[in-house]
């Protein structure tokens, strides 16, 4: 009842806009235009035949792992920009892979709580640091280039959005897929299975992009606030929060993806969202 019935429309629109090169799904060719120089906000593989922009995590590794640069002002700047404007609203509304997990969670089955697995939420920060930054920077070949470790070894989106649609229509790619594809497919199957029972397991535990945006939830222009004069600390917000946030205590918690379920669940209308551009007013 507290669920936002319209959020899926924004998620669908964002997924479609991110993958607007629809002919690619039939021709098996990825988009090669100039828009690919710009990153999309969510996790979306740039080898998806529909992708019209770049994956921010893939791009970050590409620049860090290049022989020319060892840090990317451009990509980190774009990530900070999205982060400070929206925080993890990106996860809740604009990320295609996040939406994919939500759809899987709608499959009728027993739903399990992740509250006791809270320690696993720290994993994603380790993945961001080790697989996205340190390994591509440090483990380099003779010309100074590093692999995109996260994309290569951990990212299930590459298989779902890139390998599978391309392999369906391209015999050459189909025949080139080997053990690495098998390993990543197992990861994807694992994420799909977990998503049916747990809410957004990849976002909670593994996603380095979510980890980056999480750092900005407290300082983003888009934020939540609790009116403590109205709040009775009844815990109705915490009960509906699938990201395990005690909203009445920490409305801008790092795990909050701004789905808004808590706002609708609050019987006292104590939780507010705002895009605060000035000191006192809000939009």
């Amino acid at each position: 009842m507290a669920e936002n019935k319209n959020r899926w429309k924004i998620q669908a629109a964002a997924t479609l806009l991110t993958n607007a090169h629809l002919t690619g799904f039939f021709t098996g060719r990825i988009y090669r235009g100039k828009f690919k120089a710009v990153c999309v906000p969510g996790l979306n593989c740039y080898s998806c035949p529909g992708a019209v922009g770049s994956c921010p995590i893939g791009s970050l590794q590409a620049v860090i792992g290049s022989s020319k640069f060892k840090f990317s002002y451009y990509i980190v700047g774009i990530l900070i920009l999205f982060g400070v404007l929206l925080g993890r609203l990106v996860c809740g509304f604009l990320c295609p892979f996040g939406w994919f997990q939500e759809l899987l969670h709608k499959i009728p089955s027993k739903k399990l709580s992740t509250q006791r697995l809270h320690a696993l939420t720290w994993l994603k920060y380790g993945i961001l640091l080790v697989f996205v930054i340190v390994l591509p920077l440090v483990v380099v070949d003779e010309v100074g280039m590093g692999d995109p470790w996260f994309c290569k070894w951990l990212c299930p989106a590459g298989v779902l959005e890139g390998a599978l649609p391309l392999a369906l229509v391209d015999e050459g790619i189909r025949s080139a897929l080997g053990w690495l594809f098998t390993w990543k497919s197992c990861l994807l199957i694992g994420v799909i299975t977990l998503s049916v029972f747990f809410y957004r397991p990849f976002c909670k535990w593994l996603c380095p992009l979510g980890a980056f945006y999480a750092l900005f939830n407290k300082v983003s222009f888009y934020r939540y606030s609790v009116d403590h004069d109205r709040c009775s600390q009844c815990g109705a917000c915490s009960k509906v929060c699938k990201m395990d946030v005690a909203v009445y205590r920490t409305p801008n918690h790092t795990e909050c993806i701004r789905c808004g379920d808590c706002i609708r669940a609050c019987p006292h209308e104590a939780i507010r969202k705002s895009i605060t551009l000035k000191g006192e007013g809000s939009l």
């Binding site: 593989c45 590409a62 990317s72 451009y74 774009i78 900070i80």
Partner: protein
Amino acid sequence: MLRKNRRSTFILLIAASMIAAGVFRGEVQTVLAKAVNLCLECVGIG
């Protein structure tokens, strides 16, 4: 609230400066070159 917004605005300006610095350094070409070609690692070819 005002203090928080000053901090956010400062971070926003840093982000804009970093993007400009990255464009000036030519990072965009590296991103584009990677993105317009099939990422073999991403799709699991190697």
